[in-house]
Symmetry: C2
Subunit: 336 residues, 2 copies
DNA sequence: CTGAAAGCGCTTACAG
DNA sequence: CTGAAAGCGCTTACAG
């Protein structure tokens, strides 16, 4: 593989000059510049990014940690990151913890060794040891859909408010007995604020909270939601609506209802959370709290690049969400 | 950030000795080894991967090109890659072409500059210019679910055979009028062999081919399949089964049928292709040709690492697929 | 077993 | 505007 010295020799200049051409220094005389460019062409020379990184102290690389790349919401956000990274000329090193939080430390170590210029951490906790390491190495971090007691730049949706709005939407449509299929109560980042928004909306409408109407799953997945639907409906056959903490869970509720001959929305209204492509594919199309997942991924990268370049970033960015009205919620008010 | 010299100074040895400890050379006297280890601890030293890569000519990094990370099948395969990469101690640089094949060249260039040790290319064409570059730089490549006229190591499912089996399965169940919702005919990698398997299965059973029973979409997505279902059913109301070229397309057919009151499988049988998590979630659960997507991703990484280490690899690995029988195909034979 | 020294491929003051 | 030289942080023959 040709090096900068080969190019220099062929163009009959010094390696310094070649380097200048490579880095678009404008103080190279046109004649030499052309010779260098031509030599680069002829040799098929490609600068060694490792050597560049070593000397510049920059790798043009961003480390990304996600819990599970194949999970629907993460996959959409990661796509946004990949797009923005491409547009801005950065690379992404992708790491999936696959539910094993212990891997976070080892990935962080690896990021340090690889000298990534910044890190995006999606829905993964930043513990004290992690935070210390990041500070010590002074690597900028952007959190996505996560939370931390440390002052890190964070991009998220206000889950409590969004949940409030979702449940309030159901209430406005005349639903008084509203079930919740939630994620695990231990998930303080996502499950707890959603439950809290649910409770506030009820309280706001003067509806008493009923623990029998809240099912907490082990995760946010399909199978769990089927169990949750069964759990809720068998205990409270008269509920008219369910708020699902994820679109995939809403899908599980659909499947359960279909099996039992329960019609959506005629017999049961469902509202989801996430705003996946999937939500549009359901029959009937799912009304859901839509987070701009793609855009969150894009924003994460662009904010991180700003941080890397020394620009300040506001600590928390609340992204806009919206309740995407489709056909899974019955308007009881209109029926009266 | 401390360097190897700081460690050496603190441990009162040479940098060479520190390096030996780092690389587990067993010819370091225990006393010094311990001092070095302790100095590393105290300083929080982390070797600079860029410097190591520069000198070793290795970056411990694999470049991955996929058409769209957020697409269901790719996301599952990428998860497999990430898992195996983690287990084997490699990093993945992830690049999504997002349908723009022109990006392949620029990603390849970037991979060369980053000195990746190998490349995985998923369902993306390797053109002459790409192949030349790869040979010239002698970077090992593994193709996944792709095809190439060049002798590259390739991991795939025999799509023609799998399609043959899928259609044959329908025929065995008594279906004689079988529709096909295919991807674009220009997709010689995936669509053409599937169509060819479909035709062979019909021919084998003595059923005449009918062009009115084949719909070619623009892609493999949900919306397209709805159009396809409409197209097929309006032309041939008496067809009893449809073979969908992707699970997502099968989902589209489900949605269309649901809207029209066509029951699956009572009125129409559907068989899919891919074997996504999604297939299990449908109602009724989708019978589908299941490719081991996760495992294909894992295999891609492990084979690539072998190539990088100079071990030979057989050029084409046909992965096992299976027809996962669920509940979307009616057995007409049993009904007679 | 271990250290001094050269070198991986690049960039950047420095002097001219 | 440009070249010689030093240096980024590491590894590895080489000699001892």
């Amino acid at each position: 593989m040709p090096t900068i010295r080969d190019v220099a020799k062929r163009a009959n200049v010094s390696t310094a000059t070649v380097s200048r051409v490579l880095n678009h220094h404008h103080l190279v005389v046109p004649d030499k510049r052309d010779r260098v460019l031509q030599a680069i062409q002829e040799l098929g020379f490609r600068p060694n990014g490792l050597a560049r990184g070593l000397i510049n102290g920059r790798s043009q690389t961003i480390g990304v940690i996600v819990p599970d790349i194949s999970s629907f919401p993460f996959a959409e956000a990661v796509k946004g990151m990949a797009e923005m990274a491409h547009d801005l000329g950065w690379n992404l090193i992708m790491c999936s913890t696959n539910g094993d939080l212990g891997r976070i430390s080892s990935y962080l170590q690896m990021f340090v060794e690889k000298r990534v210029d910044g890190i995006i951490c999606m829905k993964s906790p930043v513990l004290e040891e992690h935070y210390k390491l990041l500070c010590q190495q002074s690597i900028p971090v952007v959190l996505v859909a996560s939370a931390s007691k440390y002052p890190l730049v964070s991009i998220r949706v206000n889950r409590e408010q969004a949940s409030f709005d979702a449940v309030n939407y159901l209430i406005q449509k005349g639903h008084r007995k509203v079930g919740l299929v939630s994620g695990p109560i231990e998930d303080t980042i996502a499950a707890v604020p959603k439950i809290s928004g649910y409770r506030k909306a009820l309280a706001d409408a003067g509806i008493e909270y009923d623990a029998e109407l809240v099912y907490c799953g082990q995760n946010y997945l399909f199978e769990n939601a089927k169990v949750g639907a069964e759990w809720l409906i068998s205990r409270s056959p008269d509920l008219t609506a369910i708020y699902a903490a994820s679109d995939e869970m809403a899908f599980g509720i659909y499947a359960y209802c279909f099996g039992k001959g329960i019609r959506i929305p005629q017999d049961l209204s469902v509202i989801g959370y996430d705003g996946l492509k999937l939500a549009r594919m359901l029959t009937p199309p799912l009304t859901t709290v839509t987070q701009p997942l793609l855009q969150m991924g894009e924003t994460a990268v662009s904010k991180l690049v700003n941080l890397i370049n020394g620009l300040p970033g506001e600590s928390v960015t609340d992204m806009e969400y919206q309740i995407m009205e489709r056909e899974s919620v019955l308007n009881l008010v209109a029926l009266q």
